[in-house]
């Protein structure tokens, strides 16, 4: 485990998380940390436990043991909506847009927990993705894959999150759109949002990340800075295809 010191405080800390589906032990002793302002990537192949880790962080799945701290408070026992209210947001795998609802309605759902006026955030999202302003009345299901990705990002940003969770942002996108997508992630990161990117596309993820974790069959097998991981021989062979 990496125990590097850093200037900023921890935003999210997972300690010794064990998660089960019925009898099957999915996550084994997962510990990881995301500091404020960091962009961290979680790498792993199919069925390595990436999505379960995300669901555990969000509280959709509860761990059998271990603790999750977010923004200085223990949230292990808290509901998903509590965690989201505290500043988590997610761009789910396959984007999971509400297809029969309009772009605008999708964005509004992102700000569901906020009672205050969110027209300002809407403006910001439109600034980031000008296309969405034109398409706001269109049904989300009729958009192209790249446009859907924008809606999903915009929807997550509507809650003005402290921590943005991204589940496989490159999945199902054409290579050019993948690059675009990661540029946007970087842009959002530079605006000061901490981000956890869960990816199979290790190359792309490491190129923008500060830190990285590598997950295999439910365990963290590597944890280091993005530079170190990019040069890691084993990882190169296994994931980077070099």
């Amino acid at each position: 485990m990496s125990d590097e010191m850093s200037d900023s405080a921890a935003l999210l800390t997972l300690s010794d998380i064990n998660t089960f589906y019925g009898q099957i032990h999915i996550l084994q002793d997962i510990s990881m940390e995301i500091r404020i302002g960091e962009l961290v990537c979680l790498l792993g192949g199919n069925a390595s436990g990436k999505s379960t880790t995300l669901k555990t962080i969000l509280g959709i799945v509860s761990p059998r043991s271990g603790t999750i701290e977010f923004d200085g408070a223990d949230v292990t026992e808290k509901s998903t909506s509590f965690r989201i209210a505290q500043g988590m947001a997610i761009v789910p795998e396959n984007r999971r847009l509400f297809a029969p609802m309009t772009v605008l309605e999708n964005l509004e759902m992102g700000a569901y927990l906020r009672d205050d006026d969110h027209s300002e955030d809407l403006e910001q999202v439109y600034q980031l993705f000008p296309l969405l302003a034109d398409r706001k009345g269109q049904l989300a299901g009729t958009l192209s894959g790249g446009e859907q990705q924008m809606v999903a990002m915009g929807r997550a940003l509507m809650s003005r999150p402290k921590l943005l969770l991204m589940d496989e942002p490159s999945m199902g996108l054409a290579p050019i759109l993948v690059e675009q997508s990661f540029e946007i992630i970087q842009q959002v990161h530079e605006a000061g949002v901490s981000i956890l990117v869960v990816e199979q596309n290790a190359n792309m993820a490491l190129s923008i990340a500060d830190h990285g974790y590598v997950l295999a069959t439910g365990r963290i097998v590597l944890a280091d800075t993005a530079e170190v991981l990019t040069e890691h021989e084993g990882l190169k062979k296994a994931y980077l295809g070099r």
Partner: protein
Amino acid sequence: MEFFLQQTVNGLTLGSVYALLALGYSMVYGILKLLNFAHGEVYMFGAFAGYGVLTVLGGASAPLVPIWLMILLMFLAAIVVSSTIGVTLERFAYRPLRNSTRIAPLISAVGASFFLQAAALLLFTANSRTYDAPKLIAIQTGIPIGPIRVWMVRVLVIVTSFTLMILLTLWVNRTRTGKAVRAVSYDREAAAMMGIDVDKVIVVTFLIGSALAGVGGVMVGLVFGRVFHLMGFVAGLKAFTAAVVGGIGSIPGAMFGGLLIGFAEAYTTGYLSSTFQNLIVFGLLIVVLLVRPRGLFGRQELVKV
């Protein structure tokens, strides 16, 4: 022409009641993918609640309060009773089974339906009750439409149904909770990821669907009269057919389906024969399903491999 107009009014009355019931089926199905077989019994209890208020306040022949207040109170009582039952069902009969097999909540729904029928038999006995609405609002009062005259109670039923349907459409499309209902019904997990409290949204859905059923129960009592412990079964089956024809899960579909079944019944009886009323309605359903397997307004779900 007069005959056609008369049958149209008949179909419209029946259809708007079916539509109200179908909405509850469709909303619950949309959000839980559950065929809530007990919905008809929720409606039956609504009808009995209205009857209770009517009886306590002097009955139709000697009402103790103004008629408009009486009818308002009957609707309110039905809404309270029906939505309480609906929410209780959700909490105790369906929620514990939410993550089990598909068939378990279905059986639980059937059990709940039997339970409510038996409870009604125990509480109200097997005798038919009647609202005796013609004594409350004279059967001669009505508005003339061309060659025919439409009884005030029918007008009330049709207008109330359509008002409620419009309000529900606005609620679902314009309000935050309404949108959350749609989001949950489309993708429960994604909705949870947005911070939507799925349990609460489901409760709200049951609340509204059951309240509509309660209103439908009082309407049936007012316009058709007979209230009895098994009234929910057939009405439930018809409303369910309506929801399926419209595309179960779809709100405009449920309204359209309800009216379609109402008209189908009226015109079948009027121009063919009442003997095969049910046969033709169910046959219509099968034809619709064969041509459009997900109903008229149903959406094609994405196939995930």
